[in-house]
């Protein structure tokens, strides 16, 4: 629940439940009571969150896996699929063991605690069919009450923890050692992802209390992955043959399937971040669709005008840029601004991926930074500009109790962006250097030339 006053919001949701129906006045009158009765889960909200979890998993496997694999040369297609699949498995276990606990238990403003180590206690509330809704920040001064079981909340968030590192793989495609990648991803998910997610999404996280708006992960997921990708591109160096060899995509069909599944799955990502099946989820889905379409067209027309032809890779890249940019904004903005955000992201990322990158000369192979980093920044900032208060309102006076776009809010958003850029950039850099000095980051030149499918995995597509 990413609202600024989530308790009230949750309570007003509660009024839909059978329990609260009996005592709505009391519920409204005493929102901040120390120990409210634990909320019943809502089966509709739970149904949507279970669905959203499946949709976000679909984004990584096979969505992202195909999106990236469709852009590389034939000799690296399987290795690229393998990266996303392996990250999915590795982070699932990491999250189970300690990641979830560090991110979503109450802890301090800087990191969660260890009370959910190995997910201990997560089943406590489901016995007897009297499932109790999960409370985020339990015991803190600012708990967020939800109407879904903790197991579902944990799973939904796991799929976010999976896709974020998987996105980074776009930057080092075609040249990173598989073993190094495994280690990097596991550690990164704990030392970069977990803290940033805690800062932004825990009700007592320091970026949250600063007032940062990030509905579904513009900073936590996209800027974070984008800048980590940039570090990978810089530390690993360019692909062998960069600028000389033909590195055209083997089969963009895969990329189109992947981008399409990202799009469909992103409904779970953004509308699921409403943590319920309600009007805010509906609006989040609507603006997701609108911004994505606008960004896809933005990139396509920019390319059509500049280069003379609209390309398939262009339109799908634009769509992904739009999905990225609307992510932080999705529960906060209306359709009109969604178009603006979409066009800005589509055109902005087009120039980032096609001009800026070549200008600066780093080889972010599949534009992890150009699309996720830049798109995420555009979205995070514009959220501060376009937020429409009633969407996040929780009290009885919508226009004032929600957060509206303003110059002050833009500044707050800017701060959160900078914090993410710095923390993720710095820690990722250090991590990469350590791995490089110990087991090495990059495959040998010969292996790279022969292709990772055969040299790392002993397989090939015929």
């Amino acid at each position: 629940m990413r609202t600024t006053d989530p308790v009230n919001f949750a309570f007003s949701r509660l009024r839909l439940g059978a329990l609260a129906a009996a005592l709505p006045l009391l519920a409204l009158a005493t929102p901040a009571l120390a120990a409210p009765p634990p909320p019943k889960i809502d089966s509709g909200d739970t149904a949507w969150m279970l669905t959203s979890t499946a949709l976000v998993l679909l984004m990584t496997v096979p969505g992202l896996a195909l999106y990236y694999a469709g852009m590389v040369r034939k000799k690296n297609v399987l290795a690229t699929l393998m990266q996303a699949f392996a990250v999915c498995c590795l982070v699932s276990i990491t999250w189970t063991v300690i990641g979830y606990s560090l991110t979503f238990t109450t802890g301090s403003p800087y990191i969660g605690g260890l009370s959910r180590f190995m997910l201990g206690g997560i089943a406590a509330n489901i016995a007897q069919g009297t499932d109790i809704g999960f409370t985020l920040g339990l015991g803190s001064s600012n708990p967020t009450v939800t109407t879904i079981p903790e197991s579902v909340y944990m799973m939904f968030q796991m799929t976010f923890a999976i896709i974020t590192p998987a996105l980074i793989a776009g930057a080092f495609a075609d040249r990173m050692k598989f073993s190094a990648m495994c280690i990097f991803m596991v550690v990164w998910s704990l030392v970069v992802y977990a803290p940033i997610a805690h800062w932004v999404w825990s009700p007592i996280g320091w970026l949250n209390t600063l007032g940062t708006l990030d509905f579904a992960g513009g900073t936590v997921v996209h800027i974070n992955a984008g800048v980590a990708g940039l570090m990978c591109a810089l530390v690993l160096g360019r692909r062998t043959g960069y600028g000389h060899d033909d590195m055209s995509p083997y089969n963009l069909t895969y990329a189109v399937i992947g981008a399409s599944l990202l799009w469909v799955g992103w409904f779970g990502f953004n509308a699921g971040s409403a943590v319920g099946a309600n009007g805010r989820a509906g609006m989040a889905m609507a603006v997701t669709q609108i911004a994505t379409a606008a960004a896809a067209l933005g990139w396509m027309f920019a390319e059509w005008i500049v280069k003379g032809k609209p390309t398939v890779l262009g339109i799908i890249s634009g769509a992904v840029a739009g999905l990225v940019a609307i992510t932080p904004a999705s529960g906060f903005v209306l359709p009109g601004p969604a178009i603006v955000i979409g066009v800005a992201a589509g055109v902005g990322c087009y120039f980032a991926a096609t001009s800026l990158k070549h200008l600066l000369g780093y080889d972010d192979s599949l534009d992890c930074f150009g699309v996720h980093g830049v798109g995420g920044i555009i979205g995070a900032l514009l959220t501060g500009v376009f937020a429409y208060a009633p969407l996040s309102a929780t009290g009885t006076t919508p226009a004032t109790s929600g957060t509206a776009g303003s110059f002050a809010q833009l500044i707050i958003q800017g701060k959160a962006v900078c914090v993410t850029l710095i923390w993720s950039g710095l820690i990722s850099f250090v991590l990469l250097k350590i791995i490089d000095l110990t087991i090495g980051l990059r495959v040998s030149r010969d292996d790279e030339v022969e292709g990772l499918d055969m040299t790392l995995h002993g397989e090939r597509i015929s």
Binding site: M247, S248, L313, A353, T354, K357, H358
Partner: protein, 112 residues
């Protein structure tokens, strides 16, 4: 016996085959190749990365024929593969010393 090798535009393949059949050519072997020549290749741009693809898709036809058929075969290819535009391709003729049909072990022109 001679081997006539023709590199042609892919979409002309059926026309060439149809032109050869009336001459009594009973078989031929075809491969997909890429050709580099006077015909310009294309520049492809993928997210701003430009690749000049100098090789264009062509089809290579190899047909073994008896010496007295060579001229007719060359002529038939010349006509059926012709568009008049750059990149129409080439015909090369070379010598075959021996030919054998695997199924029957027939040799020489009987093998064709």
């Amino acid at each position: 016996m001679k081997l006539v090798t023709a590199v042609i535009k892919p979409f002309k393949l059926d026309d060439v085959r149809e032109a050869l059949t009336p001459l009594g050519v009973q078989g031929l072997t075809v491969s997909e190749v890429k050709g580099f020549g006077r015909q310009k290749g294309q520049t492809e741009i993928y997210r701003g990365a430009e690749y000049h693809v100098s090789f264009l898709p062509k089809v290579k036809i190899e047909v073994a024929v008896s010496d007295d058929l060579v001229d007719q075969v060359v002529e038939a290819i010349l006509q059926s593969a012709h568009t008049g535009k750059i990149g129409d391709g080439k015909i090369f003729v070379s010598e075959i010393l021996r030919a054998v049909r695997i199924r029957t072990r027939e040799t020489g022109e009987d093998a064709l």
